[in-house]
């Protein structure tokens, strides 16, 4: 009886948006009469932070503080069409739609400001703090609030914009599979350390280290929650979960959380994450989408680490203690053969 440590690695990429494209999203942006903006969407915030990402993108594009923007979404009577929150598409597709809408609204805002300041709109810039000023002459400025009031009550202008983003649908060649699946890809490498008990077959995940390249982290805290949560899901997929424990036999399916196994808080390990940003040419500020990919590298990295620890390959998920013990037994039992070539 012994516990054996091992390390495993996986490197992956992940496509952003629905495969083949053809998945549009729209956004509407408008100002109220005192210069506060609403982004109208129908995209769903699943907890991933859809509303925060689009809010920050809108504020950056308009050139106003993020507090002056709120996102209103998930109502089919008020929000324009969105394909949905899936396929790592929210930040990329909806973000681009918001940029287009916000640019249009910004152009009207600058026109209205130019009329008030009696300058050319091209000579104006936003300070990101709620004011619009003449480039090179910052003392000549006007607040976004005053611009909105003037636009609404004096000039009769609507500070608003429309946006849509669509990656045109790609054909697929039936004979060769030639296609344009995605316009950009995120990347990752994950290294995991495990400890395998050769008596019980139990596996403890001790540590993860990962690098994720995601184009641009619009909000680092939201990126972190995705990557940490995703790695937990990956570990759960690797070692615990299935509604059909003896697939393809359908027997003994779990009916509730007492029977459906998942790791608990005590099973979660340290995870050091490093984020790289290589902007996608067509991403909003270069952003891709880290949402789905972050579970994927964990599964094979854990399997590879188990091999590194005890020298058995488990090709069937989830890698339960039962499967580990059977594999050890088939190979001669115990830790035999597992002592050489240990991970550094």
């Amino acid at each position: 009886m012994a516990k054996h440590r091992g390390r495993g690695v996986a490197t992956i990429n992940y496509p952003v948006g629905m495969n083949l494209g053809g998945d549009p999203s729209q956004a509407l942006v408008h100002s109220n009469p005192t210069g506060k903006f609403t982004v109208a969407l129908s995209s769903i915030d699943l907890g991933q932070g859809m509303k925060s990402v689009t809010r920050q993108i809108c504020a950056e594009t308009l050139g106003v503080p993020v507090e002056d923007v709120y996102v209103d979404t998930a109502d089919s009577d008020t929000g324009p069409h969105c394909m949905g929150s899936f396929a790592s598409r929210g930040t990329h597709r909806v973000g681009n739609a918001v940029i287009t809408a916000a640019r249009e609204a910004r152009a009207v805002m600058l026109e209205a400001a130019a009329e008030e300041l009696e300058v050319d709109p091209g000579d104006l810039e936003t300070d990101g703090k709620g004011s619009i000023r003449v480039k090179g002459a910052p003392h000549r400025s006007i607040s976004v609030r005053d611009v909105a009031i003037a636009a609404q009550f004096k000039q009769g202008k609507t500070i608003s914009g429309r946006g849509i983003f669509l990656v045109p649908l790609s054909d697929v060649d039936p004979e060769t599979g030639e296609m344009s699946p995605a316009t950009c890809y995120a990347h990752a490498c994950l290294i995991v350390e495990v400890e395998v008990d050769d008596e019980t077959g139990e596996i403890a995940v001790l540590k993860m280290t990962s690098a994720y390249e995601i184009g641009r982290a619009i909000n680092p805290k939201l990126v972190e929650q995705q990557l940490v949560g995703g790695s937990w899901m990956g570990m759960s997929h690797a070692l615990y979960e299935t509604p059909e424990p003896y697939y393809p036999n359908t027997r003994d399916g779990p009916r509730d959380f007492n029977e459906y196994l998942m790791p608990g808080p005590g099973d979660i390990c340290q995870h050091d994450i490093i984020v790289l940003e290589r902007p996608a040419p067509d991403g909003p500020f270069g952003a891709k989408g880290p949402g789905e990919m972050c579970a994927n590298p964990v599964l094979p990295a854990v399997a590879n680490a188990i091999f590194n620890a005890v020298g058995v390959r488990i090709n069937e998920l989830p890698i339960t203690p039962e499967k580990v013990l059977k594999a050890l037994k088939a190979r001669g039992g115990g830790a035999a053969g597992a002592s050489s070539g240990r991970a550094p």
């Binding site: 503080p65 993020v66 290294i191 393809p248 984020v275």
Partner: protein
């Protein structure tokens, strides 16, 4: 816990931004942490009715008769909903984007094709009353032979699961029972390979396990409209699906989503909205239809099982010269979204590596189990498990460090991918380098110096892409390149280290950190000469 490496790719980024990159607190966080964010089930209605669904106890059976007369008279029961009540009782989710044929009824009319398939709806004044009435329904079945294994389902004489696709496979392009990928010539490459490795991988189904189960409340509004409070992940997708099944105009439905208690792909299928709306139409009252935990676990769609076989041809210098994949997606009894995932899977093959010869056949197979659907990483998660497990075996067999083996084969800008598009904006090598450094995984100097931005190009796949019909399909593809008549991996950088004949150790352990190849020992025959070129430092 989270840090940035802003130095990498800095020349491609404008970092002079104000709001982008800030850890701004989300606008709805206070509602979430104080328990006041509204979920669909937080909406209260005085006269709310409850819909519960009678489900099949059999995996495959003909319904001989249904006697619901006692249930209809049970206390609190307002309405029984039968298959004949559903206006359009056959649908497939992707019909909204014209992909696939309608194959799934909302309520089974004559045959049930998986254990848990909906047969009958009972609308009552409480969930308890509905469940008690359900116990009074008498259904008699003739059991039919069932099939649960994807490869069994493809054999001649296997029970036919889904009458829309009687051969148990989704039909691609009106003529194929699978999606193909053909790039280069794997058969020749296998013959030339130093080593050929084959293995098979299996992922079982996985449940989304959301805290909030699938559900919705449909409320009659004025003007013949209905307000639907829903947990959907895709508001208009669900709205249009519900409108189709109920034969209603889309503007008769007002969908209100909002906070979702966990989606992960399991709330795209629109499993509750159509019948909740139908029940509200038939009773004139608000109706709630929510899954119990048991329903969510066993009868809500899971991430489907996938069986994946991989065959790699590798050279002693570490190059992968051929990769063949055969995969079966277990779609369960109906298509839902698995047909789409098959194509996405094929697009992902052979993973983020540049391999000159790739061949894949991927099948969407029908079996008598709960229909599968989308889940985080759809079409890719199981494939990545198989590919990256197999990469490890390749590396061990060749006696090469598994991470260096990946860097060696990683795709780079300008490489041609198997689906015949140029690789751009690559960063796999950099991720490997950064993770290795952080985890003290020893990489030799020449691997630390490689870049996704250098050394790529169509020559690495022997110009295979030029034989493609790329321009005919996508004018946006890379312009045709002169075809190099050789399978050579020309990489100008980095300098070649000393060639060490591969000694296959039994383990995939990274080499000890104390013994990296000394920087000076780069004389002599070049290692990976055909990969890195022969330039010496």
């Amino acid at each position: 816990m989270l840090e940035f490496r802003k130095d990498i790719f800095a020349d491609e980024r404008d970092d002079n931004l104000i709001e982008i990159g800030q850890p701004t607190q989300r606008q709805d966080i206070l509602g979430h942490v104080t328990g006041t964010s509204p979920f669909y089930d937080d909406h209260r209605f005085a006269n709310l009715l409850h819909l519960k669904i009678l489900r099949s106890p059999h995996a495959h059976a003909r319904i001989r008769s249904i006697d619901d007369s006692a249930a209809a008279r049970a206390p609190g029961v307002k309405r029984i909903i039968r298959a004949a009540d559903v206006p359009v009782n056959l649908n497939t989710l992707l019909s909204l984007i014209q992909f696939g044929k309608d194959d799934e009824p909302s309520l089974a009319a004559d045959v049930v094709r998986y254990k848990g398939e909906p047969i009958l709806g009972i609308v009552a004044t409480s969930e308890r009353a509905a469940l008690e009435a359900m116990a009074l329904v008498r259904v008699s079945y003739d059991q039919l032979p069932a099939v649960f294994d994807v490869e069994e389902a493809l054999k001649p004489g296997a029970p036919s699961v889904n009458p829309t696709y009687p051969k148990n496979t989704f039909e691609y392009y009106g003529k194929y029972d699978h999606q193909k990928l053909r790039f280069g010539d794997v058969e020749s490459a296998f013959k030339q390979a130093d080593l050929v490795l084959e293995d098979r991988y299996q992922m079982s189904p996985i449940e989304h396990a959301p805290t909030e189960t699938n559900g919705s409340i449909a409320v009659p509004d004025t003007n013949g409209r209905f307000i639907v409070y829903t947990s959907t992940q895709a508001l208009f997708f669900s709205l249009d699906t519900a409108a189709k099944i109920n034969a209603m105009q889309s503007n008769q439905l007002h969908f209100i989503g909002g906070t979702v208690g966990g989606g992960f792909g399991g709330k795209v299928d629109t499993m509750t909205e159509p019948l909740a709306i139908l029940a509200a139409r038939l009773t004139g009252a608000p109706v709630r239809y929510r899954f119990s935990r048991h329903e969510e676990m066993q009868f809500g769609s899971p991430r489907g099982a996938e069986r994946i076989s991989i065959k790699d041809g590798v050279m002693k210098d570490g190059r992968i010269v051929a990769r063949q994949v055969r995969a079966y997606f277990d779609s369960g009894a109906y298509t839902r979204l698995s047909s789409y995932a098959v194509v996405k899977c094929v697009a992902h093959i052979p993973g983020p590596y540049t391999i000159p010869n790739v061949h894949a056949d991927v099948y969407c197979v029908f079996t008598n189990r709960t229909p599968a659907t989308a889940m985080r990483g759809f079409g890719v998660t199981a494939l990545d498990f198989a590919l990256e497990s197999h990469m490890d075996k390749d590396a061990v067999a060749l006696g090469i460090d598994p991470l260096e083996f990946r860097i060696l084969n990683a795709y780079r800008d300008g490489d041609m991918k198997a689906h015949r598009r140029e690789a751009k904006n690559c960063a796999l090598i950099e991720c490997a380098q950064v993770a290795a450094e952080k985890a003290n995984w020893p990489l030799r100097d020449e691997f630390r110096r490689l870049s996704s931005r250098q050394g790529g190009g169509p020559a690495r796949t022997g110009g295979a892409a030029d034989r493609a019909r790329a321009p005919a399909i996508a004018p946006a593809a890379a312009p045709p390149q002169p075809m190099p008549q050789r399978v050579a991996y020309e990489r100008p950088t980095p300098a070649a280290p000393a060639r060490t004949p591969p000694t296959p150790p039994p383990r995939s352990a990274p080499p000890p950190p104390t013994a990296p190849t000394p920087a000076g020992s780069t004389h002599g025959a070049p290692r990976f000469s055909s990969v890195f070129g022969t330039r010496r430092r």
